[in-house]
């Protein structure tokens, strides 16, 4: 009797190719995940920026980490959407009746999320450079930034997977990301938390976005990162693991 061979990585590669095609063929995805954060960055820098006191002379430098997180948070809404649509249509049933690795279709979406968010992050950084963003960070610091952003993306992607797998409507699948997009506004992403009323400030200083933003900002400006990076990593890894467990449970229930 022949043994059942698993080709996890090649199957996942096929799935990745498939959903990357989906992304490049739907313009609205590309627009939402890159143009909106860029527009926001322009707005904040050239319209509000003059009135915002951050203690830095270069507001683009201050703003960029938060903008990147917003871009990722809106990007993963599409992961939930694509996953939901796949579950609705018969294509997942076809995949699951084929001799392929069970979780390859799901991991394909996760990988796609990582790749597509990486692309929009790079595009936004390039625009920021044109707008005057400058960084003294070395290679290691950039790698650390990339690592944090990748972990943040993965953490949110697994949350998106829960939403996409358990939603009962398209709107439901996407709706969960609104609070995530909103979180950076109640953090130190746009203005220092010192300027906020005490209750809001307490929330802002203890939610994940602030530590992630602070860590990235410190890395990019070549300043000591202190504890922020560990708090940021702990948040990302913690959220990722919890969300992963629930997403996998939802996935197993569906297949």
């Amino acid at each position: 009797m022949e043994t059942v061979k698993k080709h996890f990585f090649s199957d996942m590669g096929v799935m990745l190719g498939r959903s990357m095609r989906h992304i490049f063929r739907s313009m609205d995805t590309i627009i939402t995940v890159t143009i909106t954060p860029i527009a926001m960055m322009l707005l904040f820098v050239y319209v509000f920026g003059g009135a915002i006191q951050t203690g830095t002379d270069n507001y683009v430098n201050y703003l960029l980490p938060g903008i990147l997180l917003i871009a990722i948070a809106s990007g993963i809404a599409y992961t939930a959407y694509r996953l939901f649509m796949d579950m609705q249509r018969g294509i997942f049933e076809r995949f699951h009746s084929m001799p392929i690795a069970r979780s390859a279709p799901l991991w394909g979406h996760v990988l796609t999320s990582l790749v597509s968010n990486a692309i929009s992050v790079v595009v936004i950084i390039l625009v920021a450079l044109i707008m005057g963003f400058r960084s003294s960070a070395g290679v290691l610091s950039w790698l650390a930034v990339a690592g944090i952003l990748a972990l943040f993306t993965l953490a949110l992607t697994w949350i998106a997977a829960i939403a996409g797998l358990s939603a009962t409507s398209v709107d439901g699948a996407g709706a969960f990301s609104y609070p995530l997009i909103f979180l950076p506004f109640i953090s130190s992403a746009f203005v220092p938390t010192e300027s906020m009323p005490s209750v809001v400030r307490a929330f802002a200083e203890n939610q994940p976005v602030t530590s992630i933003v602070e860590a990235i900002r410190a890395l990019l400006s070549g300043q000591p990162v202190g504890n922020d990076i560990w708090i940021a990593l702990a948040w990302c890894v913690g959220i990722m693991l919890v969300a992963y467990v629930f997403a996998m449970r939802a996935y197993k229930k569906r297949v």
Partner: protein
């Protein structure tokens, strides 16, 4: 090797409130065309999903090519392929890309060639590089079936393959099914069209209220029909009449 492609014994399945399958028994011989007939909601798709490892059953046993679907799903998936009731094609990809994707997932050596051959065979060559979202219902169904043939599986499940097709499209699908069976593939199909079962199947089973109420060749089923009444013209019963007669008898009890 045993001769049965599918063996189902005492199969039970309930959804939260609904007891859909109440002890279903049947066997499908290798290389034959087996039609499962039933009205809307009879549980045809439920049986297909259980046999293709997409759904767990509650009781009884089901084996495909000798492998139990519950305990050896990986082995079952090796030899089957499913064309579900609703087209399982990727709308955003082109027809060619869909076929290549499946060929890659089946780890075939030459995905492009496999895709070209199937596009040709199903008359989709001209539309090969268009997105599937621009296809007509019939083209979509043809692509769907073509995708199920990638890698030449031994056993093919077709869940209502001709629902929603025009007569021409239906005849085309019938032709494909007959060709498959001639090539030695076992075909398990479900349908609401009695004529379809009559046209295609070596054996026909009728699923009604959770059980198989009749199972046999067309000739055998025709014998179940009450003797023809004396009329001016003696009329052969159609399968439809047999179906209604059997249901009628059951309900009288």
């Amino acid at each position: 090797m045993q001769n049965q492609a599918i063996q189902v014994k005492g199969l039970q399945k309930s959804y939260t409130k609904l007891h859909v399958l109440k002890g279903v028994d049947f066997e499908v011989e290798k290389g034959s065309i087996f039609a499962l007939l039933g009205s809307n909601g009879a549980g045809k798709t439920t049986i297909v999903k259980i046999l293709t490892t997409l759904l767990k059953h509650d009781g009884g046993t089901a084996a495909v090519n000798g492998f139990d679907v519950a305990s050896r799903p990986d082995h079952v998936r090796q030899s089957i392929s499913l064309t579900g009731q609703f087209a399982a094609v990727d709308e955003i990809l082109t027809g060619r890309e869909n076929l290549i994707m499946i060929a890659k997932l089946r780890h075939l050596n030459n995905p492009r060639q496999v895709a070209d051959d199937l596009l040709n065979r199903f008359g989709l060559t001209d539309a090969a590089d268009r997105r599937v979202s621009t296809y007509s219902g019939g083209m979509r169904r043809r692509l769907d079936i073509a995708m199920s043939l990638v890698g030449k599986p031994q056993l093919i499940f077709l869940d209502e393959p001709t629902t929603g097709l025009d007569p021409e499209g239906r005849i085309e699908v019938w032709k494909t099914v007959k060709e498959l069976a001639n090539g030695g593939t076992t075909v398990f199909l479900t349908t609401q069209y009695l004529e379809e079962a009559e046209q295609l199947a070596d054996r026909i089973a009728i699923l009604h209220e959770g059980k198989i109420i009749a199972n046999g060749t067309l000739a055998e089923l025709k014998k179940l029909f009450p003797p023809a009444k004396v009329e001016y013209v003696e009329k052969q019963p159609t399968l439809e009449e047999i179906f209604l007669a059997i249901i009628g008898k059951k309900e009288e009890k």
